[in-house]
């Protein structure tokens, strides 16, 4: 039978026609090479999702809500954790607070005044020696008591702390105006006072407190400074108290109680570790030194003092908040799983609907892997779209919470990536079964499917 009689069909040139039938080894190699690339397949998947936007959106909605709640909850959790941390560390970080306390087994009854358990200025001086406690950066002996403060017609009861000039270095205080208690003031037992922010606002509503006189326990004091608000509320924030020189507090204001056997006692000694990683070392050094000084057994069984480790408290609170956040996020993640099941459901329907299309693609040369990849990409794209929209919604919710002023939610990149990654994993997992169904369709059956 003769061929090429009429070149009626354009493009069917002789050359092309005659090269194809040559099935040499080289041509055969060429035959098995190639195949559709994944980028092309991804394009097909996205095109079929675009073709039905409402269904795509509704299918992605489950994942969207899941991701949004995970992201929002994590942001709010982190925000509240940061708020709690800030409130605990408002009076300084890495603090170890030493107080007197009766030895265990005495039912909380404290030893009589004058017993060896009392903390003294000498203890503080020993602690401040870098050879004794090398991991401490600052040591602040403090004597606190309450006093009625009168300024003109206004008066209030406030906590009065006797402190040394080192105090603001530990407690992160800054002065709004004036100066802090100086070494000179302490030595001279000067009647000077530095007001906490709230006290200043109460006693001097016009903000003109600096330089004025006020009376505490019947004695006259001059206001030499006002502290800036520290913002914290926990652990006796200095905002609600006033500070006087340590010697003034011990000998003039609370003298009767402070004098102990020729020594002047302090109510607390606050030690700041040089860094957060050194708090544990500082703690054991303090224990060792104080037990030596007070002739207490080294195993700590009858300590007359206790050391409050701020870092340990912080860790406990942080862990609690984290657990709560994780717990809530896990509940939110369940909705992600449910979203994944929604994707699987729709993908199974979609494979059924597009049986003939799958048959055609196979007839045109799509391999099982190509079909599998196309449907996997579809479910991945569904969960990816849901994930991205969920990120946006979650971020919006977190911002709304921040705007409302309840707390400052903290969005974080790693939480966002984790939620998105989890969403994609869900899409992949729940996409496998439908994609495999599609890939395994017999093209003959699929092409005749009604």
């Amino acid at each position: 039978m003769s061929t090429h009689e009429r070149p009626l069909v354009r493009g069917a040139t002789k050359g092309e026609r005659e090269v194809l039938p040559q099935t040499s080894a080289q041509a055969e190699d060429e035959l098995w090479a190639g195949g559709i690339g994944w980028i092309e397949t991804l394009g097909m998947s996205l095109a079929s999702l675009r073709a039905n936007p409402l269904r795509t959106f509704l299918t992605a909605l489950g994942v969207l809500i899941g991701v949004a709640s995970v992201v929002a909850l994590l942001a709010i959790g982190r925000g509240s954790q940061a708020a709690i941390t800030a409130s605990i560390t408002a009076n300084g970080a890495n603090l170890l607070t030493i107080r007197t306390q009766g030895p265990p087994g005495q039912g909380g009854v404290r030893g009589a005044v004058g017993e060896g358990g009392t903390l003294t200025v000498a203890d503080a001086t020993a602690l401040a020696n870098p050879q004794n406690v090398p991991d401490a950066s600052f040591v602040s002996p403090e004597y606190s008591g309450n006093a009625q403060i009168v300024a003109g017609a206004l008066n209030m009861n406030a906590r009065v702390t006797g402190a040394l000039p080192v105090y603001p270095s530990l407690h992160n205080n800054t002065l709004a105006e004036g100066v802090f208690v100086s070494e000179e003031d302490n030595r001279a037992m000067a009647n000077v006072v530095v007001l906490g922010a709230n006290v200043a606002a109460t006693l001097f509503p016009n903000g003109d407190g600096l330089g004025q006189q006020l009376r505490m326990n019947g004695k006259s004091f001059q206001v030499i400074g006002v502290l800036a608000s520290s913002g914290g509320s926990g652990f006796g924030s200095v905002d609600d108290g006033v500070i006087v020189p340590l010697n003034t507090a011990q000998r003039k204001l609370f003298g009767a109680r402070a004098a102990v056997g020729g020594e002047w006692s302090v109510s607390t000694i606050v030690v700041q570790a040089a860094s957060s990683s050194q708090t544990d070392a500082a703690l054991s050094e303090i224990n060792l030194l104080l037990r030596q000084r007070k002739n207490l057994p080294e195993d700590g069984s009858s300590d007359t003092f206790s050391v409050l480790n701020q870092a340990a408290i912080l860790q406990t609170v942080t862990q609690t908040t984290q657990m709560l956040t994780l717990f809530l996020s896990a509940i939110a993640a369940i909705s992600l799983l449910v979203g994944g099941i929604g994707i699987m459901n729709i993908m199974l329907v979609s494979v059924r609907e597009r049986t003939r299309e799958i048959g055609l693609r196979k007839a045109l040369g799509a391999r099982e892997g190509d079909i599998m990849l196309q449907f996997l990409f579809e479910s991945l794209a569904l969960s990816g779209v849901g994930g991205l929209l969920g990120l946006a919604l979650g971020a919006a919710i977190a911002m709304l919470v921040s705007q409302s002023g309840v707390l400052q939610a903290q969005l974080s990149l790693d939480a966002a990536l984790m939620a998105l990654g989890f969403a994609l994993a869900v899409g992949l997992f729940f996409g496998i079964a439908p994609a495999r169904n599609a890939a395994r369709l017999d093209p003959i059956v699929a092409l005749r499917y009604e």
Partner: protein, 271 residues
């Protein structure tokens, strides 16, 4: 070797539960390059099974099938996909165009599965192919914007775009009216005259008449292998199923042989 298709003693047995269905019972024939062959037979004769085998959608139970020098019965699934993509252009009764894609995108689809061809070149070749079938002005139309005949021409353009060795048309006019059927058959005839090997599966004598050679299948066996010019000389060309051997058949039997009545014959491996 000038054979495009070489079929030797092929059989195809389907297992449906306990039942064995012998769809093909040992066929042998050759089709040369550039031939235009019609495969005819009533429903249940095995012609669909034969078409699936020729189209590399299925493999024979026994026997050998060589397409363009390739031993098809020895190939694996993914290799069969590659053979379908590069060697065979399919034309189906139901067109099977992607409804949401334009004519141009539909025609370019097989080239995407071939791989390694840039998108611009695929579109250019698809456009060229659409011009070949006379639809150069309908490239951006979607299937539902085209008539049945135009849709089938898009499908033919899609079959041609890979420059296949073999054009395999399964009832290409089955869903078309008489006039558009003639258009489609003219197109297939033109393609054959320019060198394309065309295998046509049909049960319509008018359609089969466009081919130059007729393979008639019945009960899974090759009944006749004759030039179409001689196939209907003995009797009325419009009633080919009224062969001398079946002259006394009832009207129902005649209709059934012509494929106009359903026959419980569509056995499938699985659904």
């Amino acid at each position: 070797m000038n054979n495009m298709i070489s079929v030797r003693d092929i059989t195809r047995v389907y297992h449906t539960g306990e039942i064995e269905v012998h769809a093909l019972r040992g066929l042998s024939f050759d089709i040369e390059r550039g031939e235009f062959v019609a495969i005819m037979g009533p429903s249940g004769s095995g012609k669909s099974t034969l078409m699936n085998l020729i189209g590399c959608l299925d493999t024979p139970t026994t026997g050998s099938y060589t397409l363009d020098g390739l031993p098809v019965e020895q190939l694996e699934m993914s290799q069969l996909s590659a053979v379908r993509n590069r060697k065979i252009g399919f034309v189906f009764q139901q067109f099977h165009l992607l409804a949401r894609s334009t004519a141009l995108e539909n025609v370019a689809l097989p080239l995407a599965y071939r791989g390694g061809i840039p998108a611009a070149e695929r579109m250019a070749r698809a456009a060229e192919s659409l011009e070949r079938v006379g639809l150069g002005d309908r490239m951006d139309h979607r299937p539902q914007q085209l008539s049945g005949g135009q849709q089938q021409r898009v499908a033919i353009a899609r079959a041609l775009v890979t420059q296949p060795a073999l054009l395999l048309a399964d009832e290409p006019t089955g869903a078309l009216d008489t006039r558009t059927s003639a258009e489609v058959m003219d197109l297939l005839t033109d393609l054959n005259r320019s060198g394309m090997t065309v295998v046509l599966v049909t049960h319509e004598p008018d359609v089969a008449h466009s081919a130059r050679r007729l393979l008639e299948i019945r009960d899974g066996k090759l009944m006749r292998d004759v030039p179409t010019a001689e196939a209907w000389t003995a009797h009325d060309p419009h009633t080919p199923h009224l062969a001398p051997t079946s002259g006394n058949a009832s009207p129902v039997e005649r209709a059934r042989r012509a494929g106009r009545l359903p026959v419980a014959s569509r056995w499938r491996k699985s659904v």
